[in-house]
């Protein structure tokens, strides 16, 4: 089970990112738990500068803007 965290204060793009992660995980049949982190302090502790960010199993894989579908698949299957 992959622990996915989506970092973002709640802007439109952050919500879209979360939906993309869930949809892609369902499509690939990967078991994930997706957690949304909206607290600024918690976001800052991951060291990212722009949101939305994606953290998979404790590792920051993406920051700023919507992720690309190709990349998402790669991260979720890794």
């Amino acid at each position: 089970m992959k622990q996915v965290k989506v970092l973002g204060p709640g802007c439109a793009r952050c919500k879209t990112t979360e939906e993309m992660v869930r949809a892609e995980a369902v499509r690939l049949g990967v078991d994930v738990s997706v957690e949304k982190i909206t607290d600024y302090e918690a976001i800052a502790q991951f060291g990212i500068v722009s949101t939305p960010g994606i953290v998979i199993d404790g590792k920051v894989v993406h920051s700023g803007g919507l992720p690309k579908a190709d990349d998402l698949r790669r991260w979720l299957q890794a």
């Binding site: 204060p9 502790q45 990212i48 500068v49 993406h62 700023g64």
Partner: protein
């Protein structure tokens, strides 16, 4: 996330078919992937798009004249000239915007906030302020990222004043506004806007840094120690960068077009109905109080940068002083209430007040200087 739209019982069969069609097209598009990513296709597509763009662009003025001539309004009336301004400027500004945003989207793919931070983290004040202001122009930045960005910079050891130089330059020197000014008003005003915007960001950031206000940050920001990220370096091909340009067009033009139409409507009204004599008395170079008034009016006003430009164009056409108009524009863009509310999460009220005061003084200085130089 469930596909809510399809399950919704209120959808008519027709719209279901549209959704299904959209799905099919999407699948086809992703299967056509190798073709879509070929550089030749992209270059050819861009060349054709540019030719069409220019062919269309040169027809806009004749079209607006023709359309106005079809109306029953008397030639040269205030109404006719307003309508002509609107009909000519709307497609013109939208087309220019598309071109500028595409080019900027490609340029911006070379910059990222993470990279900017890495460059600024080792810099001292002074040089750091200059670098921060310059990077602020090109680094992709949206106001909903203002807080993570601020915290990310400060916690990585970027000095407070340098962070402010970035934070002032990023919204104030808007590359879309710059491109539109260049195309609509001329290169002199555009370059002056760029130069003075940079100077304000550099000097304001430097002043804030000299005041040593680190203690006025919210407490959690002072204590935070951000972890290191090492994101894999993105290997972007040219096709990726062109795609980034296209994405920028979809996102930005899709978001700001109504601001622009509202701005053009105001511009058209000014163009047709506001007497030049009145405007040059209120906003002319001789009225010294017009600069502070323009800044004060601009602070609570919030508009997308792109929406202000048609107003700027109309005001300048009516003989308003350049310094006053630029002061108004910068105040509208750089000092926005929504952004301050967002920044309240990391800055104390005192620090926000200092920020607004320093930037407002900078804009005032630019307005006065400009009116003195160009009148």
């Amino acid at each position: 996330m469930r596909a809510r739209a399809v399950r919704s019982p209120t959808l008519r069969p027709g719209s279901r078919r549209v959704i299904a069609l959209g799905r099919k097209l999407h699948v086809m598009a992703s299967q056509a992937h190798p073709l879509k990513r070929s550089p030749g296709m992209w270059l050819g597509g861009i060349a054709i798009a540019l030719i069409l763009w220019f062919a269309l662009y040169w027809q806009l003025q004749p079209f607006a004249r023709w359309a106005v001539a079809q109306m029953q309004a008397p030639q040269g009336s205030a109404f006719a000239s307003s309508v002509e301004f609107f009909l000519y400027d709307t497609p013109k500004v939208l087309m220019l915007l598309t071109l500028v945003v595409f080019a900027m989207g490609v340029v911006r793919s070379f910059f990222s906030p993470e990279r900017t931070r890495a460059i600024l983290a080792g810099k001292r004040e002074g040089l750091g302020n200059i670098a921060a202001a310059g990077l602020g122009v090109f680094t992709p930045f949206c106001s909903c990222s203002a807080v993570p960005l601020f915290v990310g910079f400060v916690s990585a050891g970027v000095p407070l004043g340098v962070t402010f130089s970035f934070l002032i330059a990023a919204p104030m020197i808007n590359e879309v506004a710059l491109g539109l000014l260049f195309a609509l008003v001329g290169w002199r005003v555009a370059l002056t806007y760029l130069a003075f915007g940079l100077i304000i960001a550099i000097v304001s950031g430097w002043v804030i840094g000299r005041l040593h206000l680190e203690g006025w940050l919210e407490e959690w920001v002072q204590n935070i120690r951000a972890g290191d990220v090492d994101l894999q370096p993105e290997n972007m091909s040219w096709v990726d960068r062109l795609e980034a340009g296209l994405d920028a067009v979809k996102e930005i033009v899709g978001k700001v077009w109504y601001w622009i139409i509202a701005g053009i409507a105001v511009g058209a009204f000014i163009h047709g109905y506001v007497p030049a004599a009145l405007l040059s008395r209120i906003m002319g170079a001789d009225a010294w109080w017009s600069v502070p008034a323009a800044v004060l009016i601009g602070i609570p006003m919030y508009s997308n940068a792109a929406g202000v430009i048609p107003i700027v164009e109309a005001l300048l056409g009516k003989g308003a002083a350049v310094g006053t108009v630029l002061a108004f524009m910068m105040s509208v863009i750089a000092l926005s209430l929504p952004e301050m509310i967002i920044l309240r999460k990391v800055l104390s009220m005192k620090l926000i007040a200092v920020f607004v005061t320093v930037v407002a003084c900078g804009i005032l200085a630019v307005g006065f200087l400009f009116n003195a130089l160009f009148s």
